[in-house]
């Protein structure tokens, strides 16, 4: 199974969210939501679920799961690798 890299997930953000910072400034541990974060909101989260389903074939329908997975790109990568391994 191919690894999911930082640039893959940066592209996911670029394609699906209204980013206010250049994607190269986003690191693995950059918070996506909340104070001191990229400033994404709930609409960006919805668009992320659309992009993840289109790109990785994994559906997220539970807001609690989205909140856990979307803390930063590291948590998203770990969540994606886990669900793809268990699928």
């Amino acid at each position: 199974m191919a690894d999911i890299g930082l640039d893959d997930l940066r592209n996911l953000l670029v394609e699906n969210c209204m980013l206010r910072v250049p994607p190269e400034e986003i690191q693995w541990d950059t918070p996506l939501f909340g104070p001191g974060s990229l400033g994404l909101d709930s609409i960006d989260a919805l668009q992320m679920t659309v992009g993840i389903e289109r790109t990785y074939g994994v559906a997220i329908t539970d807001p609690a799961v989205a909140r856990q997975a979307f803390q930063n790109l590291q948590t998203l990568q770990q969540w994606l690798m886990r669900v793809r391994t268990s699928a």
Partner: protein, 135 residues
């Protein structure tokens, strides 16, 4: 009972049919030439404003979403995002506008819909929009 919470002067659904429960539905609106916006948009060539095509699509999406909720009366959803919207052909007065919505994604109080507007079977506009449900 009205199909949306809008007053009669801002309703773009005369009727609405759920074709696939919780997933897909289509509404229709007769674009009466006497509708006020046609008088000034434009005086020499009346056309339905693009923003009202988006509104018609949003009302169809709202009627679809409301049909899945166990509530009495129309629910007041808010248009939260116009993800994409393309107007393919101008829409004149005196036609039946058909607005179809398909639920793509639901996450908590937000839902994304694909929307297609047709006149006489021809696509006149299409896109994707997001609605938010009341808290």
């Amino acid at each position: 009972m009205s199909l949306t919470p809008h007053g009669p002067g801002f309703s773009f659904l005369d009727e609405f049919e759920v074709t696939e429960p919780g997933r897909r539905g289509t509404g229709r609106k007769w674009l009466d030439p006497s509708l006020p916006f046609f008088a000034d948009h434009f005086p020499d060539e009346p056309l339905m404003p693009g923003v009202l095509l988006i509104e018609a699509a949003a009302q169809a999406a709202g009627a679809l979403w409301a049909s899945t909720l166990m509530e009495e009366g129309p629910t007041r959803f808010a248009l939260a995002q116009i993800t994409q919207f393309k107007i393919v052909e101008p829409v004149p007065p005196g036609v039946m506008l058909e607005s179809s919505a398909t639920l793509d994604q639901l996450l908590g109080p937000l839902a994304q819909f694909s929307v297609v507007l047709r006149v006489a079977g021809h696509e006149v506009a299409l896109g994707r929009i997001v609605l938010s449900a009341p808290a």
